[in-house]
């Protein structure tokens, strides 16, 4: 291609300044943006207009006023005191508490099981490795809702009646009325004991910090974590013994005992609660397991070899080399899985557990106010997800590399 001649170039520059209006990039952008804005506003306006027109036509109330009315819906096994005389809003809150109760327990259990699965997948034992690979492949490739149906109708509801309950060590009793476990019954001195434990925690925090400072300053090993834990243990045990000596211990064991056709004492998990938590745990643990495995595998072998070469023990390799680096990779996707677990908990309806969704549906059927309830339920789920993200991001910041 011949090089452009000077004059040629100038003429081009000149034509540039006289770009017609319909080809001027700034005009085009402004026009597109206004058109897009009009389109979006128009669409929303169209939908809202329809909503108002149709609501009027069908006599549907779009306000939030009904929330303070008497709910008159039933919620069985409510976790906080509830009666149909309470308001709709309070009924909704019961649903929120139920969702939180199931998801928080699910998160704790799924994390424990997930870490176990991730580590087992890296086991030197071929058989263990493969069994967990089969577990992950079997659970992940089946919709959670199908697993819920299978687990609840196929297994949980077919557990033996209370008289023939499966007796596991603990004692834990499995029956079709639910799962019964040993539980601590708080006595009058429980509050005092909690205060003592709290004091031990605070003292432990300061002792840990002091010892840590000493360690960084002098280089002498001072075991800050160990000392703090020891302080907590000593405080807890000593407080317990002192209170038990002065009257009754802070917690009395309450053991489930079969009386007639039902268990008395202990803690009962309803079959629904148990089935939901178990399904969510088993499902999400497969995802967390794969995250953990990937994170551990991503640590270069050279790091481990170098750590062993400088004489770190296996525990120290884990504590100072593997875990800090793996956590950086594990935390962000795991938060995503916690949010997935929360969203998955809406399948509670399969097992008949009264979570946000079930309560919302009942409220809508009772009151007919669908649109406000939808806004409320979506906002609640978004809020829960946002809180998880916030906590997760704060924790994530503490495990990431501090760049100078």
């Amino acid at each position: 291609m011949p090089a452009p001649v000077q004059g040629d170039l100038r003429s081009r520059v000149e034509t540039h300044s006289s770009v017609p209006l319909w080809r001027n990039i700034y005009v085009l952008r402004a026009v597109t943006q206004i058109a897009a804005a009009l389109l979006i506003v128009g669409l929303i306006g169209f939908l809202l207009n329809n909503l108002f027109v149709n609501a009027e036509k069908r006599g549907v109330d779009l306000g939030f006023g009904f929330l303070s009315l008497r709910a008159s819906i039933k919620i069985s096994n409510a976790a906080i005191p509830y009666s149909p005389d309470n308001s709709y809003f309070y009924a909704f809150l019961v649903g929120v508490v139920h969702t939180l109760r199931a998801t928080l327990l699910g998160i704790v259990l799924a994390t424990i099981l997930g870490v176990l699965v991730g580590v087992a997948r890296l086991s030197h034992n071929w058989l263990v490795q493969k069994i967990f690979a089969v577990y992950i492949g079997a659970i992940r490739n089946v919709p959670l809702i199908v697993s819920c149906y299978f687990f609840y109708f196929g297994l949980v509801l077919r557990m033996p009646i209370t008289k023939e309950a499966v007796h596991l060590p603990g004692p834990i009793f499995l029956s079709n009325r639910g799962v019964y476990t040993i539980w601590g019954e708080p006595t009058a001195s429980f509050g005092t004991w909690l205060l003592i434990v709290l004091a031990a925690v605070i003292a432990g925090y300061f002792v840990r910090r002091a010892l840590r400072n000493r360690e960084t300053r002098t280089g002498m090993p001072s075991y800050p974590n160990l000392a703090a834990l020891a302080l907590l243990a000593v405080g807890g045990v000593a407080g317990w013994l002192a209170l038990a000596g002065g009257g009754e211990p802070p917690l009395l064991p309450s053991i489930p005992v079969l009386k007639g056709t039902n268990f008395r004492g202990g803690m009962r998990m309803t079959p629904e609660y148990f089935a939901l938590v178990a399904c969510l745990t088993v499902y999400i643990a497969t995802y967390i397991g794969e995250i953990v495995r990937g994170a551990i595998q991503s640590i270069p072998r050279g790091q481990l070899e170098a750590a062993r070469a400088v004489g770190l023990s296996e525990i120290h390799v884990l504590r100072y080399i593997v875990i800090p680096q793996a956590l950086r990779i594990i935390v962000p996707p795991t938060i995503g899985q916690y949010i997935n677990l929360t969203k998955g908990s809406s399948l509670a309806i399969v097992v008949g557990y009264a979570d946000i969704y079930v309560v919302t549906r009942n409220i809508i059927e009772q009151s007919g106010s669908s649109a406000p309830m939808f806004l409320l339920i979506i906002a609640t789920y978004l809020l829960i997800a946002a809180v998880y993200s916030l906590i997760g991001n704060l924790y994530n910041r503490s495990v990431q590399i501090v760049e100078r």
Binding site: V142, I145, V146
Partner: protein, 412 residues
Amino acid sequence: MADRASVTGVADVADQVRPPVASTGPLGWVRANLLDTWYNALLTLGVLVALYYLVRGFGGWVLLTAEWAVLTQNLQVLLVGQYPDEEIWRAGAVMLALPFVLGLGWSVWPGFCRRLAISLAVAAPLVAALPVEFASLAAGFRVYLLLNTVLVGAGWLLGRSTVFGSARSVLATWLVLFLGGLVFLRGFAASEALPFVGTKQWGGLMVTLLLSQAGIVISFPLGILFALGRRSSMAFVRVACVAYIEVLRGTPILALLFVTQVLLPLLLPDWMDMDRLTRGLVALILNNSAYMAENVRGGLQSVPSGQLEAARALGMRVHHITARIVLPQALRNVLPAIVGQFIILFKDTAVISLLGLLDFLGTANAILSGRQQWFNAEIEMFLFVAAVYWVFTYAMTSVSRAIERSMSKGVG
């Protein structure tokens, strides 16, 4: 000290050192992978004992105790729902599009589809040879299964020897067969040959497969649009896309399904009213296009800005740059994530059964609660349902993995 002493006589050392433990061959493998330490040996033993009881118990149940009649008696309903008996050939014909397209895909992307296509071609006659009675489906069903094998082969041959053998034509064939299939299934009110069959009568695995395909066809391009919108320099478009993506991603699919069932009739004018199945599809699309947008956005971010600048320097127009430079690279980079999203969409379709719609899971539930005879067949039924979902998901996962592997090798 001991070391120095032993150096004096080489023969002594030779006597003391035992021959090395075998580390090759089957025995060596067992030693290295199952028995390398005492606790691993213990673990292996424990796992073997547990496995023995599990296999014995489960195997015994499958072969002796389980009542599989609930499946064989209801197979037709599980596959196509209440689609009328005399029109069932239409449902069968439409579902044959999948093996045909798979055969075509085999000829174009042998690395990704060969194993899947061959597995289907082999599995179909094996199922046909199963010594069970397929109740109402009778002998025709066995022939139908064999047709699957024939069509995989036909697709493959056609793809290899004619113009059909290009990526674009495979996708076009699939789209045409799918959309045509929908019309074919629905029929026309005035037609003699193809009488109208409403979606209320559709059901079973057919609905699950149709819903997933429709979801993919619509939510994929929508996802691309929202991803582009989220990266747009126009503030209004960007904010709107971010709001759409974040709200719909944070809402459980079940809540969305409920919203569309109840709220769509209120949000749309009467003339835009749709049937319940379509409303369910809208929820699936709303949810999945938001996720898809995030996957595509990841791909867009992976395209180096030099590519854009080079395209601009060459004087390409904006839409050409997006369509021919940015998107092809972006989509290729996140192909496994996109297939992963298709898998999630497929699994999510099962949730619509909770709204009383008769997809595969919904049909299974309807059978279980329909007749007293089947009240106790939950385990058999849900195991079968889980197995079918598993097969489809596993097939897609294996394709996704093949794509991932080829990408890490650097082969397009």
